[in-house]
Amino acid sequence: MVATSPLAPAAPAAPVVLPAPVIHEDAHAIEQRWYGWEWLATVDHKKIGIMYLLTGFAFFLLGGFEALLLRTQLIRPLNTFLQPDIFNQMFTMHATTMIFLAIMPINVGLGNYIVPLMVGAADMAYPRLNAFSYWLFLFGGIFLNLSFISGGAPNTGWFGYAPLTEPGLGGNSGVDYWNLGLQLLGVASIAGAVNFIVTILKLRAPGLTFNRLPLFGWMTLITSFLVIFSFPSITVALILLMFDRQFGTHFYLPSGGGDPLLWQHLFWFFGHPEVYILILPAMGIVSEVLPVFSRKPIFGYSFIAYSGVAIGFLSFTVWAHHMFATGLGDFANGAFATGSFLIGVPTGVKIFNWIGTMWGGSLRFKTAMLFAVGFIAMFIIGGISGVSLASPPVDFQQTDTYYVVAHIHYVLFGGAIMGIFSGMYYWWPKMFGRFLDEGLGRVHFWLTMVGFNLAFFPMHWLGTEGMPRRIYTYFPDMGWNFWNMASSVGAYILGISVMVLVGNMIYSYSRPRDEMADNPWDAATLEWATTSPPPAHNFDAVPVVYSRYPLWEDRHPVEGGQPAVIATAAPHTSIDERSHPADTQVAVGEGETNAHLATDATDHGEHDAGHAFHLPAPTIFPMILAFGLLLIAFALLFSPPILKVTFLITGVIYFVVAIYGWVKQISE
């Protein structure tokens, strides 16, 4: 009945006391629909997580396409494939898309799906706010890309330095789409961060102390704090820029008493924590995958957790290493160099602990593990190139060259993206009740390694040989021809590897779903203690946790000799009707065990044992609120007063209706 886990030990070391996993046959009988009201109005973190993942992945493909356009233009000197301004739009959108519309949302999507399960909760702390964050992300991403058909995508770089973004200096109308789009996305991100923080702080299952919190939970928590403290800085920067562009102020214009460096400080005070926002969740994923596929616990749990905290703090002290060449002076440069070097220490600690996890283990190289090991290998390189950039004198030669492009892609693709791939292969069975094909996964992995390294390793050399970045062409006598071509070929191979992944996803989903074990990888954390995929309410009964590895307590006898159990007759959760009536949970009274559970759609919380956690019903108001904000953004975007007023009034109406409807639902 239960599919055999490929990683299960040959013979259990001791009698296992875990209850048999409960599979709700009804839940499996209803095949998931991928359209309809249940998606538009959902407040279920699992559905929202999937929406984040699908949308983020679509934007990843778009950003990758933009990169292939760039690399095609640069495949040979003096190429005429892309006109200069189009090239500049492409590199602006490639970076903006990958950072804000791909990596961050995919991180949030995985976090959304997995973190509540990992902490034993029935949903995120604020399910409606969760939906709002998703819809605002989607609308912000669409808003940003609308610029393509309306005057051109922004052409001033993802970092948008002033005064280039000021009126009349070359920035096009796309800069306003970029500005307002990022502000919408910022609101979505901050709301999401608040949600994660409260979920992790307040909704952990009984016994799940911080010392037992899975490392993906730790990293998501730290990342969320980084979002809360860094996004206000870019919001301020963008608002000041909006005033400069629309209302004639001169915050960044020296002719009016402003300072271009103000933009850089505000931007990079956000921008540096942002890159840790991008990488920490992937580090969390790797910290989950490695123990499972090494079949031993993570090495140095506390050190990995606290080094994440250290990185979080230190990330706010290094921002001006992006500004070494701007003339801040030796003292400032030295201070920021010191912080930038220091931040390498906790990063190294993590790497050594991951290797320590593998050391002495019994390594199973499923695709998730391949990508996790690939992450470590590539991130080492990215980290090392970061050290040279942290030294101001060396940075004077390396900054603004392809050396930096190499560094960022080793940490963001070799790091964040490969970590994400690892997480996808790992959690795919949990989310969809199917595996991603291992054979295709291997092809995906090796094509990625070849394509990625061919595309980006030569860039270290190109930068060292004097090739600046953000140039749409170069001359044949500079000595850069061969490695530019090689890099472009690598990029194409990388594109093919992503197609293999897409094919794998489609192939996997096209196969009929058989019974998927709750825990096909023999993993240890709570998300594996429920069905694959989980029912709408996640757990039939609130799990009680006694260790970091609740599902491995057979091989890790808990101190005090307490029996390893996942679910006791614990306070029940009851929900109002969700989208699938058959999934509605039944209240579990005191003394009942899982075996007696049946799905009974009629019970709506009559057995309130005093710890009821009421989950909200589906609602469209979060989407309406997000839409209202989108309309207000259009009001700020357009210049003709009639358009401004129309969009503003309509937007405010949507806003007010949504808030009213939302609040009314809360009080019902």
Binding site: P163, G170, F299, A325, M358, W359, S362, F365, S388, Q397
Partner: protein, 360 residues
């Protein structure tokens, strides 16, 4: 015929001598690593040399070692600890505090040492070499060309920076519009030219030569073609150049205009002068000694003595075709730059090109 055989001792001696001489020649002069025109591995001046001397021994070599060791351990672990289906559970160890402390402290020490050498290089870079012959240059970045002024020498030019070898050049950096970055990789690290402030750096070229340089901060549509040349030459050659730059062309002939002399080539020049001064050119360009005093585009007073066109978008060629290509349609060559297509006839192009080349 008998082939003479080398006696073993002689062969050994020859081998040793050969190796030693190879080593000696390597130590004698720093070899050009790549010979590429903007390579940072070929420092040709003390500023770039200081950076190179920090990077290679104190950063690059430790980086390679760390890479080999850590990746090596990772790959070793991958192979040594491969498991198979049916393997017993491995020993479930999960921590070792002394090890943690060790691998926290050792990288910290390595990084602190590198930081120490970084500070040392920063201090060395902070002050240029002492010299009574230091030359002050004021650099002003424009979209998408470079203005160079020598305040002490009364020289104002564009896109080609002449400097004497062996003396420090004290550079101040400003911008007329957006942020640019002044970068001559063979000679010095880069510094940004930011509107509203003055940044300072110094550089020095050891040897005569023409050094390729490029803007290194994204500054708009033609950032890629905002290059320039640094021509390092002997002090006397530099003085001659500066003297010439101070003057105006044709001044020796009693006027600042080309005079009519028999022969078709010179009258072409005169035609070009007339076209230039009657046309739109003077609104953007300056040619001292003539009515042309625009400041939107680069000064052209001594354009004829420069080696390249449009901020080294391309070099001048023997036949003058590159210049004519530019005049024919600047937008086709450098789309988006601020010089419009003037739709000149071929005849006008020839005349203006001849005139510009006469401005030596």
């Amino acid at each position: 015929m008998r082939v003479p055989r080398l006696r073993p001792r002689a062969a050994r001696a020859a081998l040793i001598l050969g190796v030693l001489s190879l080593l000696a020649s390597a130590c004698a002069a720093p070899p050009l690593v790549t010979g590429n025109p903007q390579s940072t591995l070929d420092p040709q001046g003390p500023n770039a040399q200081l950076i190179h001397d920090l990077l290679v021994p104190y950063i690059f070599i430790p980086a390679v070692l760390v890479f080999l060791v850590v990746e090596g351990i990772l790959i070793y672990a991958v192979f040594k600890y491969r498991g198979k289906q049916g393997d017993a559970l491995p020993v479930q160890f999960h921590g070792n505090t002394p090890l943690e402390i060790t691998w926290t402290i050792i990288p910290a020490i390595i990084l602190i040492v590198i930081l120490f050498f970084t500070f040392r290089t920063q201090a060395a870079l902070a002050t240029p070499p002492e010299s009574p012959n230091a030359v002050n240059v004021r650099v002003i970045g424009h979209q998408w060309w470079w203005e160079f002024q020598y305040p002490d020498l009364g020289v104002s030019t564009a896109n080609e920076l002449h400097i004497p070898t062996g003396v420090p050049i004290l550079v101040s950096l400003e911008s007329a519009d957006v942020i640019h970055s002044f970068w001559v990789p063979l000679i010095a690290g880069k510094q940004d030219a930011i509107p509203g402030r003055v940044n300072r750096m110094w550089m020095q070229a050891n040897e005569a030569g023409t050094y390729s340089a490029q803007c290194a901060e994204f500054c708009g549509v033609q950032h890629a073609l905002m290059r320039f040349l640094v021509v390092a030459e002997s002090q006397s050659a530099f003085n001659t150049w500066a003297q010439n730059e101070r003057g105006v062309p044709f001044a020796g002939a009693g006027s600042a205009q080309p005079t009519a002399v028999a022969g078709s080539q010179q009258s072409l020049v005169q035609q070009g002068a007339q076209l230039f001064q009657a046309g739109a050119c003077i609104t953007c360009h300056t040619v001292r000694g003539t009515p042309a005093n625009g400041v939107v585009g680069p000064e052209l007073t001594h354009f004829g003595s420069r080696k390249s066109i449009a901020a080294n978008t391309f070099p001048k060629d023997e036949q003058g075709n590159n210049l004519k290509r530019w005049l024919r349609n600047p937008q086709a060559v450098k789309p988006g730059n601020l010089m419009p297509n003037l739709n000149l006839s071929e005849q006008d192009i020839n005349a203006i090109a001849a005139y510009l080349e006469s401005l030596r």
